[in-house]
């Protein structure tokens, strides 16, 4: 059931109904027992009364003796029921002769035993009490029809049930109102949430919340907090990126104005060359921003697994132009690995940034090595260069966003490259290791699990 209110209402109604029904059953049963008991006593008293009246009348049971039963006191609280008139009486002598009978009594003998008996006479079941008076030599039998009794019990029970039945819809209405009233905090919360603008991520007040809602409000506030953090991160990233792009744009504009203003051809040509260089750098920065976004929000679609060696070769191929311009040789060693990964979208930007960094850092004429090796449970990508390496003081910060080396600024980086690598490696469940290379340079390694693990949350 989708609505808590309906669900609660149904449960309460069913439970209340069940209790109500058993109460009704119990009332009916106890009423029946009670009325039966009272009526039995009544039969007994009537029989004894008839016997005592006969005795007082000289012990002779005349033909009218049985009619004395009509004088028996009415049932207490019997109300409008004409029960008293329904008693029948037979007086039998020990000799087996019917001495007397009341009007309405059946022709057949009502009972053979003393005490209470049920017997069917002339198509009707009678409840009979037989009083035996040995002195007078008579048996006084007083009885009433069971059908009559049932009618009486029915009447009494109905009298009790009718108000209870009328109460039922009232009870339902009360339950409905109570449920509504009880769930009001939930409605208020829902209303408060639906009124919120998308930008409002302030926490909901916890102090006034009911104890049942508090865990949910706390969970919601936690979510708000996380979303706010994420959004703040996005916002600062966008702002930072925009600012970062302004600097190369300023460079381009300045150089363009120089190209316009410069009186000498040499200055103009130099400015134009600077513009070309600036466009390249800006292009790289924009690509890195896109990489960053792609790596931070990986598409979780089931991408087909791709050959790791092939990804590395493609990346190296992409950077061949840059390497050539810079006079760097790139040496690939992918061995015989058959390692495949579904994370090509993460791995490619990571490798490209590592390799690009290595190429940009390397002195002209040197060689950058890129290797792929499978070692037991892990896969290792290594990129080695003969550049100046990362300065010791910069090491703890190189993977921070927009951190450009302070000790050894090449001036060319955006401060995004290694941050992209670190994010991608984390998303792949691997590890980035940056170490000085023996003999000078930097040795960057990506250690990835052979079977890609899900990224830690």
């Amino acid at each position: 059931m989708s609505s808590i209110r309906t669900r609660l209402f149904a449960i309460l109604l069913l439970a209340t109904g069940a209790i109500w029904l058993s109460a009704m059953g119990w009332i009916q049963h106890s009423t029946r027992t009670e009325v039966g008991y009272v009526l039995d006593r009544r039969l007994q008293e009537s029989a004894q009364m008839v016997a005592s009246l006969i005795r007082r009348g000289g012990g002779i049971a005349g033909p009218d003796a049985a009619s004395l039963v009509d004088q028996a006191p009415a049932l207490p609280d019997s109300g409008p029921h004409d029960f008293t008139r329904q008693l029948v009486c037979q007086v039998w002598g020990f000799d087996g002769q019917l001495k007397s009978e009341s009007s309405g009594a059946p022709r057949g003998r009502l009972a053979d035993q003393a005490g209470f008996t049920d017997r069917e006479v002339e198509g009707e079941t009678w409840r009979v009490y037989t009083h035996v008076d040995p002195e007078l030599g008579i048996r006084v039998m007083v009885g009433d029809a069971l059908a009559m009794r049932d009618r009486l019990v029915h009447g009494v029970v109905m009298g009790l049930l009718a108000p209870a039945v009328l109460i039922l819809p009232l009870l339902a209405a009360l339950i409905w109102l109570a449920v509504r009233r009880g769930l009001e905090p939930l409605d208020r919360l829902a209303a408060a949430l639906s009124r919120r603008p998308a930008t409002d991520l302030s926490p909901l007040p916890e102090t006034r919340a009911t104890s049942e809602l508090r865990p949910m409000i706390e969970a919601l506030n936690g979510l708000f907090h996380r979303v706010e953090g994420l959004r703040e991160r996005e916002r600062s990233f966008t702002a930072f990126a925009a600012h970062e792009l302004k600097t190369p744009l300023a460079g381009l504009k300045t150089q363009a104005q120089i190209a316009t203003l410069a009186p000498e051809g040499a200055t103009r040509d130099r400015a134009l060359a600077q513009i070309a260089q600036g466009v390249d750098r800006t292009d790289r920065m924009v690509r890195q921003l896109l990489d960053m976004t792609a790596v931070e929000n990986p598409v979780q679609a089931d991408a087909p697994a791709q050959d790791g060696a092939r990804i590395l070769a493609d990346v190296a191929d992409d950077l061949a132009g840059l390497a050539q311009v810079r006079g760097i040789a790139v040496e690939l060693d992918t061995g015989l690995t058959e390692w495949r990964t579904p994370h090509a979208a993460l791995l490619a930007p990571a490798l490209r940034n590592l390799l690009e960094n290595a190429i940009l850092a390397s002195p002209r004429g040197s060689t950058v090595e890129a290797r792929l090796a499978q070692e037991g449970e892990t896969v290792r990508f290594s990129v080695l260069d003969r550049g100046p390496g990362i300065a010791r003081t910069d090491r703890p910060h190189v993977t921070d966003r927009f951190y450009r080396g302070a000790a050894n600024p090449s001036g060319g980086g955006s401060g995004l490259g290694l941050s992209i690598v670190a994010s991608a490696v984390q998303a792949m469940g691997g590890e980035l290791r940056l170490n000085p290379r023996a003999g000078g340079g930097e040795q960057a390694e990506l250690i990835l699990p052979d079977a890609p693990r899900p990224a830690p949350p």
Binding site: A242, H243, E244, K246, T247, P248, L249, A250, G251, L252, K253, T254, Q255, Q257, I258, L261, A262, T267, R270, A271, Q274, I275, Q277, G278, R281, R404, G405, A406, A407, P409, G411, G412
Partner: protein
């Protein structure tokens, strides 16, 4: 006028050096705060064009250090962060002016000139001396109703002299005005430019003080010393 450019982006840094050079300034560029501190210790600059986001910290740090040390060096902040809040922060930290990236080269040159002019205590952009009206923005002047154009180097020498009219300016000081670090100083360059200036302004406009340097001649009939 020799300026120090503190900017880490190589293309922009180069553009600032060349572009301000076209406006008659001599500019030297450094890329980090550390280098900027060293440069300011080593040489005498008329002003600084300072980027805020630098690899080894914020330009505002350097600004605060300089002001704390009592330096009145004119400093123009150059930054991508050009929200009003950032401008206020920069100016309050002691910057003389503030320019957001990307900017117009002509505006940067004009603001730099204005900043230096204010530092020298002049309100007018045009300098008058001895019948010459010198307009630094256009690197030209008028004398006796005739327009005179100067080359960048001639102008730099003339400007150095006219900033402190009548004072003797030593030859090395003039050389420093003419060249940045990267440029070779030729031994007779100052003499060559003085010669050209005399040809344009009249032989008596600039006096040679033997063994000391050069100065502008006093206006007729008055004492040269201010």
């Amino acid at each position: 006028m020799r300026l120090l450019i503190v900017e880490d982006d190589p293309v922009l840094s180069d553009g600032l050096c060349v572009g301000l050079g076209l406006s008659g300034f001599t500019a030297d560029a450094v890329g980090t705060l550390g280098d900027a501190r060293a440069a300011l210790q080593d040489a005498d600059f008329a002003g600084v064009v300072l980027d805020i986001m630098l690899p080894d910290g914020s330009g505002l740090e350097l600004l605060a250090e300089l002001r704390a040390a009592g330096s009145r060096l004119p400093i123009l902040l150059l930054t991508a962060r050009d929200q009003i809040r950032d401008r206020v922060q920069g100016l309050d930290a002691g910057a003389d002016d503030y320019l957001g990236k990307p900017f117009d080269l002509a505006e940067l040159a004009a603001r730099t000139r204005a900043m230096l002019r204010r530092h020298e205590g002049r309100a007018s952009a045009v300098i008058d001396w001895n019948g010459l009206r010198l307009d630094p923005a256009r690197m030209c002047g008028t004398k006796d109703g005739c327009e005179i154009a100067f080359s960048r180097r001639e102008f730099a020498v003339l400007q150095a002299l006219i900033e402190r009219p009548g004072a003797i300016i030593a030859k090395p000081t003039l050389e420093e005005r003419l060249y940045g670090w990267q440029e070779e100083v030729e031994s007779n360059t100052v003499e060559v430019h003085i010669h050209k200036l005399r040809a344009k302004l009249g032989a008596g406009f600039i006096q040679t003080i033997r063994g000391a340097g050069y100065r502008l001649a006093a206006p007729d009939g008055r004492d040269a010393q201010p």
